[in-house]
């Protein structure tokens, strides 16, 4: 980026709230797993429900409304790992966003 670009950038404004919304959109779109050819959004409710089932084999409707046979214990482990991965990234980026004070730091 040359000096003219930098000067122009310094004139610009930055919307913190929008950046946080974009972050939320990006992280929520990644909160999903695939299992046995099915596609599942990771939610706290789904994790709780699967945890309750223990090691049972159950049939769940995935996000494409396809019934998928799952091992609850296996799927909850995968979901839990994904949940941790995404939420930790979300937290890290959220903390970084808080440090942005002006457009030139974007």
């Amino acid at each position: 980026m040359d000096i003219i670009d930098l000067k122009n950038q310094a004139q610009l404004s930055y919307e913190h709230a929008l950046a946080k919304k974009n972050l939320q959109q990006r992280m929520e779109s990644r909160l999903n797993v695939s299992y046995n050819n099915g596609f599942f959004t990771v939610t706290k409710e789904q994790i709780n429900f699967l945890d309750l089932l223990g090691s049972q084999e159950v049939v769940l409707l995935d996000d494409y409304q396809t019934p998928i046979k799952v091992n609850a214990f296996e799927l909850v482990k995968i979901m839990f790992a994904r949940y941790h991965e995404i939420m930790n990234e979300w937290h890290t980026e959220w903390e970084e966003l808080k440090k942005v004070r002006s457009a030139k730091n974007v």
């Binding site: 950038q9 404004s13 929008l18 950046a19 990006r26 779109s29 596609f39 396809t66």
Partner: protein, 265 residues
Amino acid sequence: MSDVGAVIIANNTDEFDYIKLAEISANKIKTNLNIPVALITGKQVVSPCFDKVIIQTPKETNTRYIREQSRRITWLNMDRTRVYDLSPWDRTLVVDADFFVHTDTLSNHLKTNVDFSIARQMYDPVTGNDYVMKMGKTQIDQCWATVMIFNKCSLSKMMFDMAEYTFEHWEYYHKLYRFNYSPFRNDYAFTIASHLLGGYGSKHFDIADYKLCNCDFNTEIAEINDNNILVTYKKLVNNQVKSYIQRIKSDVHIQHKISLFERLP
């Protein structure tokens, strides 16, 4: 599914280096989705960015009016309906060259076995709003051929054949669905195909829970990086036009072609 990969169609025009754009897009796909990428183009291309290059003479020239420059540009985008036959993969992710994959969001969609899915839900990263674009005066939900995932199967074959049929009878469908005759839009062809094959709208073929992040014609590109883009945009605040900047790290579709090509590294 044994063979999963992406397909990008790109043909250079007199003004724009679409192959270069496709190279950038391919690198981002490989980094974030870890799948091979095939390029469909009119002339031989030697590039390490593509695992396969499929030569196919572009069908026709399309034109689009660029408001900022008050002129028409040409682009060669009429081959989307041939992707079903040309794709070397069993399960294919088709993306526009101006769609940048910055996350692994699509990865789990590629691991499912859904036969055909296409983007419909949208997200605007400069307003933070979700929306669904409507097509023509009939106002049916518009699908975006920018991102499609399909298996080689009878449903997908029908979908692509129907979209091709729409192009062949564009005059008829433009009157039936009451949209502008020009330009020819892949989005419209696949919207009509999805509408007809989905029982006149009773079934959608959405990529589940996927919102296509779209930078529209008013959002300019300031910088293209490995895992994000910097955009500038204007908003009216207290009767004054104010300029803003935002870094976009989502998968993103860019419609402002002039600024996009100006900022190609």
